[in-house]
Amino acid sequence: MKLRSIVPGAVLILIVLIAALVSYVWTPFDVTTLDIRNKLQTPSAEHVFGTDHFGRDILSMLMVGARTSIAVALVAVGIGMGVGVPLGLLAAARRSSWVDEVVMRGNDLVFAFPALLIAIMITAVFGAGAVNAIIAIGIFNIPVFARLTRGAALSLWTREFILAARVAGKGALRISVEHVLPNITNILIVQGTIQFSLGILAEAGLSYVGLGAQPPIPSWGRMLADSQTLITLAPHLALFPGLAIVFTVLGLNLLGDGLRDWLDPRLRRER
């Protein structure tokens, strides 16, 4: 029952991960070498997914592009978790105090802006590039994790075992780290998976408008943007990066759903 979405999700993600890892040591063709004479070739035995407008092998580009997407999304989720979770724990530990108010209203402020708009604003101000894309996507991940952590932690703070820990003389910091955090890990993992897929979409979106990783680093979003005017001439240029994005995001969402069903004890009991 619960494996129904975990397995296909995990398989899809595994394929992307392996492709990205393999690209570090081997790709069918070098992605930085242009071969203009062989541009816009349709898929063949030599070039499985064909070649792009500069004669680069699309499969190789996708493999290296997977690396870019995963790296950007992973670090961005890391920033979101690394800043958001402590903020959420702090707000829950100091609930209803001014600290809670300041932290959560600050989060509301970031949350109020559409996520991609913030990202475009940041990259437009500080310049386009993979690093700024990571920071931009990371920033809008912060309130997501802060809110989730606070909400989950608040309900834990009323539980008996926390009360016991307080009676035993543990401070708010120790309780947060030793008792609250382990009990919310599962929902953080689930949310992390979902945010990861949003991060991949955001990176593709930023690259599409030219604000993500800069050439010659391959990126799925830019591959899509480059293929735009060529779509009637060579549809495979848009098809393969598009499918790569779709399957990665689908895989992550399936995995996230599956993990939630599996990890969340309450949902399990309801079954």
């Binding site: 242009l34 203009i36 005017t229 779509i231 009637t232 001439l233």
Partner: protein, 492 residues
């Protein structure tokens, strides 16, 4: 009762027959960039001239479709005082679109305004040699020069030298009033500009009743608009990859022509490492022009080896001097002390020739050990950082002004080339009136900048025009930035 139904039915049929047989009298032209204003004497943007030149505004002389200088508001002229005084006899019966009568006073006003200290004219150099403008009578005007100048008639043909009426010059940016075959009708900002036929035109009247310039910046959207029939023509079509398909379609004709657009890898000559001529020479030999034209422009473009248009009779083919030779480039870099490689910035404006060409050039430079860090910029940022701020190592841009080799005599120009030889040569060129000597000087100038490898000379931009195959009379070439619609008509 029956009869009443017949009348509208007959009218309908007549109407249908009419529209089927009479040729269309309006046209919608696609342009990639919207002009910031409509006063060609107050802005540098090529898009201004593409709307108003020869349509709304005219000068004393004008460019023909082949780039030759032809009479416009000046019917004829005599050259006096050994080339230092030009006397123009003006066309008679010319009125501005608001009914005001055109006279020699307007010519004096316009040239004085362009020359003035506080003038915002983008090409003030065109007027630098003019000493004074003298009104002899209402239909005769004389231009006195500081020294003999063979290029005055050419200079006065530029869009920056058109004639305005003193009463309406102030508002020309938004409400242009000229003497041309079309009058300004309306401007829907961000979308289109409409112009209508001027029935009181002094010369051969326009064949069209109405023309609309529609602004579509996205190449994909431009392609869709052509296919959907929203646009009748796109004189500078931005997506060369679609041209083969459009050409195969009988509904459209694709016209390939030449432009004045020297597309160059602009190099900052004042900043290390490209202040060293050996490094610039290495750069020139590291570039494979054929690959760039093929990859970025899908084969549309002519390789150039200097800053000069190949269709010009004074052109010298110097491409062999900077042939593709990566081994030589590597040796030169080593000689200049860069054997461990070199990292430079490559800032790219939006057009496809720059963005795609930049990626190809970066790959070619990587082969010789130069790492070009690509940064994609919007036009506003490019003008700010590169053109005005001179904060760049390399950039790619097409210089579309006619005969603009003279910019190499200006050390303040954004690529900051400072060479006394060419500065003296261009000054002498300005004073020379003998056509043969002028040609020799231009050829000498081409040689100097090629010897100094000032910039990486890539290719001459092709004018790739797409139009409905029933449209006749559009300019095939682009000797200046213009869409002259005077002779355009629809075939039956």
């Amino acid at each position: 009762m029956k009869q009443q139904y017949w009348v509208p039915a007959l009218m309908l049929m007549a109407g249908m027959a009419g529209s089927a047989f009479a040729a269309k009298t309006d046209i919608t032209i696609g342009m990639q960039l919207e002009p910031p204003n409509l006063d060609p004497t107050g802005g540098a943007a090529g898009a201004i001239d593409e709307v108003v030149y020869a349509n709304i505004f005219e000068g004393l002389t004008r460019f023909g479709s082949d780039g030759s200088v032809k009479p416009a508001l000046a019917a004829s002229w005599t050259i006096e005082n050994e080339g230092a005084r030009y006397v123009f006899a003006l066309q008679s019966g010319v009125t501005f679109h608001d009914g005001a009568v055109f006279s020699a006073e307007d010519v004096k006003f316009s040239i004085d305004r362009a020359m003035a200290e506080e003038s915002t004219n983008a090409q003030k150099a065109l007027f630098a040699n003019i000493d004074s403008v003298e009104v002899i009578d209402a239909s005769t005007v004389a231009v006195n020069l500081k020294q003999a100048d063979g290029s005055l008639l050419f200079n006065l043909a530029w869009g920056d030298a058109i004639v305005l009426d003193s009463a309406t010059a102030e508002n020309a940016a938004t409400l242009p009033v000229g003497t041309g075959p079309f009058a300004f009708d309306k401007w829907v900002q961000g979308d289109r500009i409409e112009i209508v036929k001027n029935d009181a035109y002094w010369g051969t009247p326009a064949k069209l009743d109405k023309a609309t310039f529609k602004f579509i910046s996205e190449p994909t959207a431009a392609y869709a608009a052509i296919l959907a029939g929203d646009l009748d023509a796109f004189p500078n079509y931005p997506a060369p990859e679609n041209l083969a398909q459009l050409d195969a379609d009988p509904r459209y004709s694709v016209v390939l022509g030449s432009t004045e657009g020297e597309t160059i890898l602009s190099t900052n000559n004042a900043v290390a490492p490209f202040d060293d001529v050996r490094v610039r020479k290495a750069l020139a030999h590291a570039i494979n022009r054929g690959e760039i034209i093929d990859g970025a422009m899908f084969g549309y473009g002519t390789p150039i080896g200097t800053h000069f248009a190949p269709h010009n009779p004074a052109y010298v083919d110097l491409t062999a001097q900077s042939n593709y030779d990566p081994e030589m480039a590597k040796a030169l870099l080593k000689e200049a002390g860069h054997e461990d490689g070199l990292t430079v910035s490559l800032k790219l404006p939006p057009p496809a020739y720059a963005r795609r060409g930049g990626e190809i050039i970066a790959a070619q430079l990587r082969d010789v050990g130069i790492t070009a860090e690509i940064e994609n910029l919007e036009w506003a940022q490019w003008l700010e950082q590169v053109f005005r701020g001179k904060d760049f190592n390399l950039t790619i841009v097409s210089h579309t002004e006619p005969m603009d080799i003279s910019v190499y005599a200006n050390p303040e120009y954004y690529f900051q080339y400072d060479n006394a030889d060419i500065q003296e040569l261009m000054e002498a060129f300005g004073a020379e009136t003998d056509q043969e000597k002028r040609t020799a000087m231009l050829q000498q100038a081409q040689q100097i900048i090629s010897d100094d490898y000032v910039n990486g000379y890539l290719f001459q931009l092709a004018k790739t025009g797409v139009a409905n195959s029933k449209i006749q009379g559009l300019w095939e070439n682009s000797p200046t930035q213009a869409n002259d619609l005077t002779a355009v008509y629809w075939e039956d």
